[in-house]
Amino acid sequence: MEIATQSIEGGFADPVFNAQTVFRAVMDAMAQPGSVQPLPAFAHPPAPLSAMAGAVALALCDNDTPLWLDPALQISAAVKSWLGFHAGAPLANTPADAHFALIAAPAEMMALDGFSQGTQDYPDRSTTLILQVSDLTSGTPLLLQGPGIEKTATIAPARMPRHFVEQWKQNSQRFPRGVDIILAAADSIACLPRTTRIKTMEA
Protein backbone atom coordinates (compact mmCIF):
# COMPACT_ATOMS: atom_id res chain seq x y z
CA MET A 1 0.00 0.00 0.00
CA GLU A 2 1.21 3.47 -0.75
CA ILE A 3 2.39 5.61 2.12
CA ALA A 4 -0.16 8.28 1.28
CA THR A 5 -3.03 5.80 1.64
CA GLN A 6 -1.50 4.17 4.69
CA SER A 7 -1.17 7.50 6.40
CA ILE A 8 -4.83 8.41 5.95
CA GLU A 9 -6.32 5.08 6.93
CA GLY A 10 -6.35 3.34 10.27
CA GLY A 11 -7.19 6.23 12.59
CA PHE A 12 -9.95 6.15 15.21
CA ALA A 13 -13.28 5.24 13.63
CA ASP A 14 -15.03 7.25 16.32
CA PRO A 15 -12.47 9.81 17.51
CA VAL A 16 -14.39 11.18 20.50
CA PHE A 17 -15.40 7.89 22.11
CA ASN A 18 -12.39 5.82 21.06
CA ALA A 19 -10.08 8.40 22.56
CA GLN A 20 -12.15 8.46 25.74
CA THR A 21 -12.09 4.67 26.06
CA VAL A 22 -8.34 4.46 25.51
CA PHE A 23 -7.70 7.29 27.94
CA ARG A 24 -9.82 5.72 30.67
CA ALA A 25 -7.88 2.46 30.28
CA VAL A 26 -4.59 4.35 30.57
CA MET A 27 -5.88 6.36 33.53
CA ASP A 28 -7.03 3.24 35.35
CA ALA A 29 -3.74 1.52 34.55
CA MET A 30 -1.74 4.51 35.81
CA ALA A 31 -3.86 4.73 38.96
CA GLN A 32 -3.45 1.00 39.64
CA PRO A 33 0.08 0.15 38.53
CA GLY A 34 0.46 -3.41 37.39
CA SER A 35 -3.24 -3.86 36.72
CA VAL A 36 -3.93 -5.10 33.21
CA GLN A 37 -6.59 -3.08 31.39
CA PRO A 38 -8.05 -4.91 28.39
CA LEU A 39 -8.66 -2.77 25.33
CA PRO A 40 -9.79 -3.57 21.77
CA ALA A 41 -7.75 -2.39 18.81
CA PHE A 42 -9.20 0.99 17.85
CA ALA A 43 -6.36 2.07 15.57
CA HIS A 44 -4.59 0.38 12.70
CA PRO A 45 -1.26 2.04 12.11
CA PRO A 46 1.35 0.81 9.64
CA ALA A 47 3.97 -1.63 11.02
CA PRO A 48 6.12 -1.62 13.02
CA LEU A 49 3.90 0.64 15.14
CA SER A 50 1.50 -1.62 17.03
CA ALA A 51 -2.24 -1.08 17.08
CA MET A 52 -2.26 -0.52 20.83
CA ALA A 53 0.70 1.88 20.92
CA GLY A 54 -0.82 3.72 17.97
CA ALA A 55 -4.15 4.07 19.77
CA VAL A 56 -2.46 5.39 22.92
CA ALA A 57 -0.56 7.92 20.81
CA LEU A 58 -3.76 9.10 19.12
CA ALA A 59 -5.52 9.40 22.47
CA LEU A 60 -2.81 11.47 24.14
CA CYS A 61 -0.64 13.20 21.54
CA ASP A 62 -1.26 16.22 19.34
CA ASN A 63 0.58 19.22 18.00
CA ASP A 64 1.33 20.39 21.56
CA THR A 65 3.35 17.25 22.37
CA PRO A 66 6.72 16.63 20.71
CA LEU A 67 7.03 12.91 20.09
CA TRP A 68 10.20 10.87 19.96
CA LEU A 69 10.36 7.64 17.94
CA ASP A 70 12.84 4.89 18.57
CA PRO A 71 15.06 3.89 15.62
CA ALA A 72 12.75 1.04 14.60
CA LEU A 73 9.90 3.51 14.11
CA GLN A 74 12.10 6.38 12.98
CA ILE A 75 13.07 4.54 9.79
CA SER A 76 9.46 4.00 8.78
CA ALA A 77 8.20 6.85 6.63
CA ALA A 78 4.74 5.30 6.78
CA VAL A 79 4.66 5.44 10.59
CA LYS A 80 5.81 9.05 10.68
CA SER A 81 3.31 10.01 8.06
CA TRP A 82 0.48 8.17 9.90
CA LEU A 83 1.30 9.85 13.21
CA GLY A 84 1.59 13.19 11.48
CA PHE A 85 -1.76 12.85 9.78
CA HIS A 86 -3.79 11.47 12.69
CA ALA A 87 -2.10 12.99 15.73
CA GLY A 88 -0.34 16.00 14.25
CA ALA A 89 2.43 15.60 16.80
CA PRO A 90 5.75 17.18 15.83
CA LEU A 91 8.79 14.92 16.11
CA ALA A 92 11.11 15.80 18.97
CA ASN A 93 14.67 16.71 18.03
CA THR A 94 16.11 14.82 20.98
CA PRO A 95 14.66 12.37 23.52
CA ALA A 96 15.10 15.08 26.15
CA ASP A 97 12.64 17.33 24.28
CA ALA A 98 9.98 14.66 24.01
CA HIS A 99 6.69 14.76 25.88
CA PHE A 100 6.02 11.24 24.68
CA ALA A 101 8.28 8.56 23.27
CA LEU A 102 7.09 5.63 21.22
CA ILE A 103 9.32 2.59 21.59
CA ALA A 104 8.76 -0.34 19.24
CA ALA A 105 11.80 -2.29 20.45
CA PRO A 106 12.13 -1.79 24.22
CA ALA A 107 14.89 -4.39 24.50
CA GLU A 108 17.13 -2.18 22.38
CA MET A 109 16.06 1.16 23.74
CA MET A 110 18.33 3.86 25.11
CA ALA A 111 18.63 4.44 28.85
CA LEU A 112 15.65 5.86 30.70
CA ASP A 113 17.69 8.80 31.96
CA GLY A 114 18.22 9.99 28.39
CA PHE A 115 14.61 11.21 28.31
CA SER A 116 13.29 14.32 29.95
CA GLN A 117 13.02 13.78 33.69
CA GLY A 118 11.18 17.02 34.46
CA THR A 119 12.61 19.49 36.92
CA GLN A 120 12.40 19.67 40.68
CA ASP A 121 10.04 22.68 40.24
CA TYR A 122 8.05 21.06 37.44
CA PRO A 123 8.44 17.29 37.72
CA ASP A 124 5.48 16.90 35.34
CA ARG A 125 7.64 18.07 32.46
CA SER A 126 9.02 14.62 31.85
CA THR A 127 8.71 12.16 29.02
CA THR A 128 6.00 9.52 29.12
CA LEU A 129 7.29 6.36 27.48
CA ILE A 130 4.93 4.18 25.47
CA LEU A 131 6.57 0.77 25.20
CA GLN A 132 5.30 -1.82 22.74
CA VAL A 133 5.42 -5.23 24.38
CA SER A 134 4.09 -8.48 22.98
CA ASP A 135 2.43 -9.47 26.24
CA LEU A 136 2.38 -8.78 29.96
CA THR A 137 2.79 -12.34 31.17
CA SER A 138 5.77 -14.06 29.57
CA GLY A 139 8.64 -11.85 30.75
CA THR A 140 10.49 -11.66 34.06
CA PRO A 141 7.88 -11.26 36.79
CA LEU A 142 8.05 -7.92 38.54
CA LEU A 143 6.66 -7.54 42.05
CA LEU A 144 5.23 -4.05 42.40
CA GLN A 145 4.49 -1.82 45.38
CA GLY A 146 3.55 1.81 45.82
CA PRO A 147 0.63 4.21 45.47
CA GLY A 148 -2.29 2.64 43.64
CA ILE A 149 -1.43 -0.85 44.83
CA GLU A 150 -3.22 -2.19 47.91
CA LYS A 151 -0.53 -4.68 48.87
CA THR A 152 1.47 -5.93 45.91
CA ALA A 153 0.89 -6.48 42.21
CA THR A 154 2.70 -8.66 39.75
CA ILE A 155 3.28 -8.16 36.08
CA ALA A 156 5.65 -9.87 33.64
CA PRO A 157 6.02 -7.81 30.47
CA ALA A 158 8.00 -9.47 27.70
CA ARG A 159 11.18 -8.02 26.20
CA MET A 160 11.68 -5.12 28.56
CA PRO A 161 14.64 -2.69 28.36
CA ARG A 162 18.05 -4.00 29.41
CA HIS A 163 18.84 -3.76 33.13
CA PHE A 164 15.31 -2.52 33.56
CA VAL A 165 15.01 -3.20 37.29
CA GLU A 166 18.24 -1.35 38.01
CA GLN A 167 17.26 1.52 35.71
CA TRP A 168 13.85 1.72 37.36
CA LYS A 169 15.42 1.90 40.78
CA GLN A 170 17.41 4.91 39.65
CA ASN A 171 14.25 6.40 38.17
CA SER A 172 12.55 6.05 41.56
CA GLN A 173 15.47 7.71 43.28
CA ARG A 174 15.00 10.79 41.13
CA PHE A 175 11.47 11.30 42.50
CA PRO A 176 9.59 13.60 42.07
CA ARG A 177 11.47 13.72 38.76
CA GLY A 178 11.44 10.70 36.49
CA VAL A 179 9.69 9.05 33.56
CA ASP A 180 6.41 7.15 33.54
CA ILE A 181 5.81 4.10 31.39
CA ILE A 182 2.75 2.92 29.49
CA LEU A 183 3.08 -0.71 28.42
CA ALA A 184 1.09 -1.36 25.26
CA ALA A 185 0.54 -5.09 24.76
CA ALA A 186 -1.49 -6.64 21.95
CA ASP A 187 -4.87 -6.47 23.65
CA SER A 188 -4.24 -4.67 26.92
CA ILE A 189 -2.45 -1.88 28.69
CA ALA A 190 -0.53 -1.59 31.96
CA CYS A 191 1.38 1.29 33.48
CA LEU A 192 4.39 1.94 35.67
CA PRO A 193 4.24 5.45 37.09
CA ARG A 194 7.45 6.75 38.67
CA THR A 195 6.10 6.04 42.16
CA THR A 196 5.97 2.29 41.62
CA ARG A 197 8.70 0.35 43.37
CA ILE A 198 9.82 -2.91 41.80
CA LYS A 199 10.91 -5.77 43.98
CA THR A 200 12.08 -8.36 41.51
CA MET A 201 11.13 -11.89 42.20
CA GLU A 202 14.36 -12.96 40.57
CA ALA A 203 17.40 -10.88 41.38
Binding site: P15, V16, F23, D28, P123, D124, P147, E150, P193, T195
Partner: protein, 303 residues
Amino acid sequence: MTAQPTDIATYNFAYLDEQTKRMIRRAILKGIAIPGYQVPFASREMPMPYGWGTGGVQVTASIIGPDDVLKVIDQGADDTTNAVSIRAFFKKVANVAVTTETAKATIIQTRHRIPEHPLAAGQVLVYQVPIPEPLRFLEPRETETRKMHALEEYGLMHVKLYEDIARHGRIATTYAYPVKVEGRYVMDPSPTPKFDNPKMHNSPALQLFGAGREKRIYALPPFTEVVSLDFEDHPFEVQTFDQPCALCAAENVYLDEVILDDHGGHMFVCSDTDHCEKRREEGHRGHLAPETRLAPEKMEPAQ
Protein backbone atom coordinates in the same frame (compact mmCIF):
# COMPACT_ATOMS: atom_id res chain seq x y z
CA MET B 1 -38.04 40.01 16.03
CA THR B 2 -39.33 36.46 15.77
CA ALA B 3 -37.67 34.04 18.15
CA GLN B 4 -35.99 31.93 15.49
CA PRO B 5 -32.69 30.60 16.90
CA THR B 6 -29.83 31.03 14.49
CA ASP B 7 -26.69 28.96 14.08
CA ILE B 8 -24.63 31.95 15.12
CA ALA B 9 -22.95 29.88 17.89
CA THR B 10 -22.62 26.10 18.21
CA TYR B 11 -20.88 24.00 20.87
CA ASN B 12 -18.99 20.74 20.74
CA PHE B 13 -20.14 17.46 22.20
CA ALA B 14 -19.37 17.33 25.94
CA TYR B 15 -18.56 21.03 25.64
CA LEU B 16 -14.76 20.67 25.60
CA ASP B 17 -13.04 20.22 22.26
CA GLU B 18 -10.91 17.12 21.82
CA GLN B 19 -7.62 19.00 21.98
CA THR B 20 -8.58 20.47 25.33
CA LYS B 21 -9.61 17.07 26.64
CA ARG B 22 -6.25 15.60 25.59
CA MET B 23 -4.41 18.41 27.37
CA ILE B 24 -6.41 17.82 30.56
CA ARG B 25 -6.05 14.05 30.27
CA ARG B 26 -2.29 14.41 30.05
CA ALA B 27 -2.32 16.57 33.18
CA ILE B 28 -4.43 13.97 35.00
CA LEU B 29 -1.95 11.21 34.15
CA LYS B 30 0.94 13.30 35.46
CA GLY B 31 -1.03 14.08 38.59
CA ILE B 32 -1.62 10.39 39.21
CA ALA B 33 2.06 9.64 38.64
CA ILE B 34 3.15 12.35 41.13
CA PRO B 35 0.57 12.12 43.93
CA GLY B 36 -0.13 15.44 45.63
CA TYR B 37 1.86 17.51 43.14
CA GLN B 38 -0.15 20.28 41.48
CA VAL B 39 0.15 19.93 37.71
CA PRO B 40 -0.29 23.26 35.89
CA PHE B 41 -2.78 23.00 33.03
CA ALA B 42 -4.19 25.45 30.50
CA SER B 43 -7.58 25.72 32.16
CA ARG B 44 -10.34 26.87 29.86
CA GLU B 45 -13.18 29.24 30.44
CA MET B 46 -16.21 27.14 31.19
CA PRO B 47 -19.87 28.04 30.81
CA MET B 48 -20.12 28.43 34.59
CA PRO B 49 -18.12 31.01 36.53
CA TYR B 50 -14.63 30.44 37.87
CA GLY B 51 -14.96 29.44 41.50
CA TRP B 52 -18.16 27.50 40.81
CA GLY B 53 -16.53 24.21 39.96
CA THR B 54 -14.84 24.86 36.63
CA GLY B 55 -11.83 22.74 37.57
CA GLY B 56 -13.97 19.80 38.61
CA VAL B 57 -16.17 20.21 35.56
CA GLN B 58 -13.15 20.19 33.24
CA VAL B 59 -11.79 17.05 34.88
CA THR B 60 -15.15 15.31 34.74
CA ALA B 61 -15.73 16.38 31.13
CA SER B 62 -12.35 14.95 30.19
CA ILE B 63 -12.80 11.54 31.77
CA ILE B 64 -16.52 10.91 31.34
CA GLY B 65 -17.81 8.41 28.79
CA PRO B 66 -21.21 7.17 27.69
CA ASP B 67 -21.19 4.28 30.20
CA ASP B 68 -20.52 6.45 33.22
CA VAL B 69 -23.05 7.21 35.93
CA LEU B 70 -22.53 10.63 37.44
CA LYS B 71 -23.34 11.94 40.91
CA VAL B 72 -22.79 15.58 41.81
CA ILE B 73 -22.84 16.90 45.36
CA ASP B 74 -22.26 20.25 46.98
CA GLN B 75 -21.98 20.36 50.79
CA GLY B 76 -22.72 16.63 50.66
CA ALA B 77 -26.14 17.25 49.14
CA ASP B 78 -27.36 16.30 45.68
CA ASP B 79 -30.06 18.95 45.72
CA THR B 80 -28.06 22.12 46.38
CA THR B 81 -28.44 24.53 43.49
CA ASN B 82 -24.90 24.34 42.14
CA ALA B 83 -24.93 20.55 42.27
CA VAL B 84 -28.25 20.54 40.42
CA SER B 85 -26.84 22.93 37.86
CA ILE B 86 -23.65 20.93 37.21
CA ARG B 87 -25.58 17.66 37.01
CA ALA B 88 -27.96 19.25 34.50
CA PHE B 89 -24.98 20.51 32.50
CA PHE B 90 -23.57 17.02 32.05
CA LYS B 91 -26.99 15.59 31.32
CA LYS B 92 -27.29 18.15 28.57
CA VAL B 93 -23.82 18.14 27.01
CA ALA B 94 -22.83 14.49 27.51
CA ASN B 95 -26.21 12.79 27.86
CA VAL B 96 -24.91 10.61 30.69
CA ALA B 97 -26.88 8.75 33.32
CA VAL B 98 -27.02 10.55 36.64
CA THR B 99 -27.72 9.28 40.12
CA THR B 100 -27.86 10.46 43.70
CA GLU B 101 -26.76 7.08 45.04
CA THR B 102 -23.11 7.03 46.00
CA ALA B 103 -22.75 3.30 45.43
CA LYS B 104 -24.20 3.45 41.91
CA ALA B 105 -22.03 6.30 40.64
CA THR B 106 -18.85 5.71 38.64
CA ILE B 107 -17.87 9.38 38.85
CA ILE B 108 -18.76 11.62 41.80
CA GLN B 109 -18.05 15.30 41.48
CA THR B 110 -17.98 17.02 44.82
CA ARG B 111 -17.64 20.37 46.49
CA HIS B 112 -16.71 20.35 50.19
CA ARG B 113 -17.56 16.77 51.18
CA ILE B 114 -16.59 13.14 50.76
CA PRO B 115 -19.65 10.86 50.82
CA GLU B 116 -20.29 8.87 53.99
CA HIS B 117 -20.81 5.62 52.09
CA PRO B 118 -17.35 4.11 51.60
CA LEU B 119 -16.08 4.50 48.06
CA ALA B 120 -15.18 1.42 46.05
CA ALA B 121 -12.45 0.47 43.60
CA GLY B 122 -13.26 1.75 40.14
CA GLN B 123 -15.03 4.88 41.39
CA VAL B 124 -13.56 8.29 40.71
CA LEU B 125 -14.08 11.18 43.11
CA VAL B 126 -13.58 14.57 41.43
CA TYR B 127 -13.08 17.50 43.79
CA GLN B 128 -13.79 21.12 42.93
CA VAL B 129 -10.90 23.10 44.32
CA PRO B 130 -10.86 26.88 44.83
CA ILE B 131 -7.26 27.42 46.04
CA PRO B 132 -5.12 24.34 45.38
CA GLU B 133 -1.98 25.68 47.02
CA PRO B 134 -1.89 24.69 50.71
CA LEU B 135 0.84 27.27 51.34
CA ARG B 136 -0.98 30.11 49.59
CA PHE B 137 -2.29 31.80 52.72
CA LEU B 138 1.15 31.72 54.24
CA GLU B 139 2.95 32.87 51.10
CA PRO B 140 0.93 34.54 48.34
CA ARG B 141 3.64 34.23 45.68
CA GLU B 142 3.52 31.27 43.32
CA THR B 143 7.24 31.64 42.62
CA GLU B 144 7.96 31.13 46.35
CA THR B 145 5.53 28.29 47.02
CA ARG B 146 6.78 26.41 43.98
CA LYS B 147 10.28 26.56 45.43
CA MET B 148 9.03 25.30 48.78
CA HIS B 149 7.42 22.26 47.17
CA ALA B 150 10.52 21.62 45.07
CA LEU B 151 12.77 21.70 48.13
CA GLU B 152 10.20 19.94 50.32
CA GLU B 153 10.47 22.94 52.59
CA TYR B 154 7.28 22.87 54.65
CA GLY B 155 8.54 24.49 57.83
CA LEU B 156 6.24 27.49 57.32
CA MET B 157 3.17 25.26 57.48
CA HIS B 158 4.30 23.67 60.73
CA VAL B 159 5.05 27.09 62.18
CA LYS B 160 1.52 28.23 61.29
CA LEU B 161 -0.07 25.17 62.89
CA TYR B 162 2.12 25.54 65.94
CA GLU B 163 1.19 29.21 66.33
CA ASP B 164 -2.42 28.05 66.39
CA ILE B 165 -1.61 25.77 69.30
CA ALA B 166 0.22 28.50 71.15
CA ARG B 167 -2.66 30.94 70.69
CA HIS B 168 -5.71 28.70 70.92
CA GLY B 169 -4.45 25.58 72.61
CA ARG B 170 -5.28 23.58 69.50
CA ILE B 171 -4.86 23.59 65.75
CA ALA B 172 -7.62 25.99 64.75
CA THR B 173 -7.98 24.72 61.19
CA THR B 174 -11.34 23.01 60.72
CA TYR B 175 -11.51 22.59 56.95
CA ALA B 176 -9.03 22.51 54.07
CA TYR B 177 -6.79 20.88 56.66
CA PRO B 178 -3.41 20.20 55.01
CA VAL B 179 -2.25 16.66 54.38
CA LYS B 180 1.04 15.07 53.39
CA VAL B 181 0.91 12.59 50.55
CA GLU B 182 3.20 9.54 50.51
CA GLY B 183 5.59 11.41 52.77
CA ARG B 184 6.42 13.96 50.08
CA TYR B 185 3.99 16.66 48.94
CA VAL B 186 1.88 18.76 51.27
CA MET B 187 -1.53 18.99 49.64
CA ASP B 188 -4.74 20.92 50.08
CA PRO B 189 -7.65 18.48 50.41
CA SER B 190 -10.00 21.25 49.10
CA PRO B 191 -12.31 22.90 51.62
CA THR B 192 -13.74 19.66 52.96
CA PRO B 193 -14.16 19.63 56.75
CA LYS B 194 -11.21 17.87 58.37
CA PHE B 195 -13.78 15.26 59.40
CA ASP B 196 -13.35 13.87 55.87
CA ASN B 197 -9.53 13.81 55.83
CA PRO B 198 -9.21 10.22 57.07
CA LYS B 199 -11.40 9.03 54.18
CA MET B 200 -8.72 10.14 51.73
CA HIS B 201 -6.13 7.82 53.22
CA ASN B 202 -5.83 4.48 51.39
CA SER B 203 -9.15 5.01 49.63
CA PRO B 204 -9.87 2.31 47.04
CA ALA B 205 -11.20 5.06 44.74
CA LEU B 206 -9.19 7.35 42.50
CA GLN B 207 -9.34 10.97 43.71
CA LEU B 208 -8.85 13.78 41.20
CA PHE B 209 -8.70 17.47 42.09
CA GLY B 210 -9.42 20.26 39.61
CA ALA B 211 -8.79 23.96 40.23
CA GLY B 212 -10.00 25.85 37.16
CA ARG B 213 -9.27 29.44 38.04
CA GLU B 214 -5.88 28.58 39.52
CA LYS B 215 -5.15 26.20 36.63
CA ARG B 216 -4.00 23.18 38.60
CA ILE B 217 -4.87 19.48 38.60
CA TYR B 218 -3.69 17.01 41.20
CA ALA B 219 -4.50 13.48 42.18
CA LEU B 220 -4.43 10.72 44.72
CA PRO B 221 -4.27 7.23 43.25
CA PRO B 222 -6.14 4.53 45.19
CA PHE B 223 -4.34 3.14 48.25
CA THR B 224 -2.17 6.17 48.74
CA GLU B 225 -0.89 7.34 52.10
CA VAL B 226 -2.55 10.60 53.10
CA VAL B 227 -1.58 11.93 56.52
CA SER B 228 -3.09 15.02 58.13
CA LEU B 229 -0.31 17.24 59.48
CA ASP B 230 -0.04 17.31 63.26
CA PHE B 231 2.33 17.23 66.23
CA GLU B 232 3.09 14.44 68.64
CA ASP B 233 1.62 16.35 71.59
CA HIS B 234 -1.28 17.65 69.48
CA PRO B 235 -2.36 14.77 67.28
CA PHE B 236 -4.83 15.32 64.46
CA GLU B 237 -8.41 14.71 65.48
CA VAL B 238 -11.69 15.04 63.64
CA GLN B 239 -14.82 16.86 64.70
CA THR B 240 -17.25 14.86 66.79
CA PHE B 241 -20.92 15.56 67.26
CA ASP B 242 -22.69 15.23 70.59
CA GLN B 243 -25.82 13.78 69.04
CA PRO B 244 -26.88 11.59 66.13
CA CYS B 245 -28.67 12.77 62.99
CA ALA B 246 -32.14 14.00 63.97
CA LEU B 247 -33.68 12.31 60.95
CA CYS B 248 -31.88 8.98 60.58
CA ALA B 249 -30.05 8.63 63.91
CA ALA B 250 -26.72 8.10 62.16
CA GLU B 251 -23.65 8.51 64.33
CA ASN B 252 -20.10 9.23 63.27
CA VAL B 253 -21.25 11.16 60.24
CA TYR B 254 -20.87 14.85 59.47
CA LEU B 255 -23.92 16.85 60.51
CA ASP B 256 -25.34 20.18 59.40
CA GLU B 257 -27.02 22.45 61.85
CA VAL B 258 -30.50 23.43 60.72
CA ILE B 259 -32.13 26.44 62.31
CA LEU B 260 -35.76 25.66 63.21
CA ASP B 261 -37.02 28.93 64.57
CA ASP B 262 -35.78 32.27 65.79
CA HIS B 263 -35.54 31.32 69.47
CA GLY B 264 -32.42 29.21 69.18
CA GLY B 265 -34.15 26.01 68.12
CA HIS B 266 -31.97 23.91 65.89
CA MET B 267 -31.37 20.34 64.89
CA PHE B 268 -28.49 18.39 63.43
CA VAL B 269 -28.96 16.33 60.27
CA CYS B 270 -26.67 14.43 57.91
CA SER B 271 -24.87 16.67 55.44
CA ASP B 272 -24.81 13.67 53.09
CA THR B 273 -28.41 13.66 51.87
CA ASP B 274 -28.14 10.34 50.06
CA HIS B 275 -26.75 8.62 53.14
CA CYS B 276 -29.56 10.02 55.27
CA GLU B 277 -32.29 8.99 52.81
CA LYS B 278 -30.84 5.51 52.47
CA ARG B 279 -30.83 5.04 56.21
CA ARG B 280 -34.40 6.23 56.57
CA GLU B 281 -35.44 3.84 53.79
CA GLU B 282 -33.82 1.10 55.82
CA GLY B 283 -36.03 2.08 58.75
CA HIS B 284 -33.64 4.12 60.86
CA ARG B 285 -35.43 6.96 62.60
CA GLY B 286 -34.00 9.98 64.34
CA HIS B 287 -35.84 11.80 67.11
CA LEU B 288 -37.20 14.43 64.71
CA ALA B 289 -37.95 12.18 61.73
CA PRO B 290 -41.39 13.01 60.32
CA GLU B 291 -43.16 9.80 61.43
CA THR B 292 -42.13 10.11 65.05
CA ARG B 293 -41.93 13.83 65.29
CA LEU B 294 -43.15 15.79 68.25
CA ALA B 295 -45.71 18.49 67.80
CA PRO B 296 -43.85 21.61 66.73
CA GLU B 297 -44.64 23.54 69.92
CA LYS B 298 -43.25 20.73 72.02
CA MET B 299 -40.12 20.38 69.98
CA GLU B 300 -37.15 20.99 72.18
CA PRO B 301 -34.26 22.92 70.86
CA ALA B 302 -31.15 20.81 70.66
CA GLN B 303 -28.68 21.87 73.34
